[in-house]
């Protein structure tokens, strides 16, 4: 899976936001705040990856157990999927 194309990610006031642009902005209104592991998960989803691979990436960065990381990834990914923002 992979995030749909068309997001611009920028820091505003020290927070990280993903904002839909171009054609995507007509389908998806609003913006996504990326905090904590959300940033790494978002980064990983720029390429075609599995949930397992994203969990591996988080474990490289954060000192957490696999179960916790898997729960974070699953929660974030299902929100993106519900919003129709994942391909594959």
């Amino acid at each position: 899976m992979k995030i749909v194309p068309g997001f611009v990610v920028r820091e505003v006031g020290g927070k990280t936001f993903a904002v839909a642009t171009g054609a995507l902005a007509k389908k998806f209104h609003g913006m996504i705040t990326l905090a904590g592991s959300g940033k790494e998960i978002w980064e990983a989803l720029q390429e075609d990856v599995t949930e397992e691979q994203i969990v591996d990436k988080l474990l490289d960065v954060y000192d957490v157990d696999r179960e916790t990381a898997a729960r974070d990834v699953s929660a974030f990914v299902s929100k993106l999927r519900e919003a129709g923002l994942l391909l594959g």
Partner: protein
């Protein structure tokens, strides 16, 4: 072609209906435009489709005027500027922008500033001012012809001192906000529906704005005291 001077820019407008020229009377100028916007039928239809509430007796000319505001807004980030949905007043020459969901009492609060401080207060714009960074880094709030239902509009630019996010309260209370706290409320007042490059430029300007002006949340009553509380927070004693 209609030529207007707004926010220190000369803007050409290719339009169809007479409403717009009348609407922009106080801003008409001459000279070579920095850029030109051209209205199409599709843009006017899109405005109608977008409107949440369509005012009674709405005319194509009125919709065209909204389409022009949107078209201009898309070009502004290239000039270190953006359209900010807010009501702006000036107090002794410095601007304060108030934002609030409609029905919060923004107009009432501004009338209270006028009552409390009289001639020291004047309106800059009631709905869609343009904020623009100068080469010296100053952020200036400029009046535009798009001024909301009160029609509060002056063709002036004043340095922006603060942004105040209004909400209703049982008593008047001000809380200073950090740039992180104010980031989302600020972005909610900026048109972000554009191409990736323009959105990236706009977000960079929003980030600069958060580091440049005072940021406050004001819970306020409809009483004149709300203006005294807000003024003290923004300007000190």
């Amino acid at each position: 072609m209609l030529i207007v001077g707004i926010a220190g820019l000369v803007i050409g407008i290719e339009h169809r209906y007479p409403y717009l020229a009348k609407h922009c009377t106080a801003y008409q100028t001459d000279g070579t435009p920095d850029f030109t916007v051209t209205v199409t039928d599709k843009m006017i239809e899109d405005e109608l489709a977008r409107a949440e509430t369509i005012p009674e007796g709405v005319t194509p000319g009125y919709l065209e005027s909204l389409a022009v505001a949107r078209a201009i807004a898309h070009r502004l980030p290239g000039y270190d500027a953006f359209l900010f949905h807010a009501a702006v007043i000036e107090y002794k020459g410095e601007a304060i922008a108030f934002t609030a969901p409609s029905g919060t009492g923004k107009s009432t609060h501004i009338k209270n500033w006028k009552r409390a401080f009289g001639a020291d207060v004047d309106i800059v714009n009631g709905d869609k001012p343009i904020l623009r960074f100068g080469s010296d880094g100053t952020l200036t709030a400029y009046g535009t012809p798009w001024a909301g239902k009160e029609g509060w509009s002056r063709n002036v630019g004043r340095p922006l001192k603060a942004v105040v996010f209004l909400e209703r309260g049982k008593e008047d209370r001000v809380v200073p906000l950090s740039p992180a706290d104010a980031a989302l409320p600020v972005m909610n007042q900026i048109l972000l529906e554009s191409d990736p490059e323009t959105v990236a430029e706009t977000l960079a300007l929003a980030d600069r704005m958060l580091g440049t002006v005072g940021l406050f949340r004001l819970a306020c009553t409809p009483d004149v005291g709300s203006a005294l509380v807000a003024k003290q927070a923004v300007f000190g004693k």
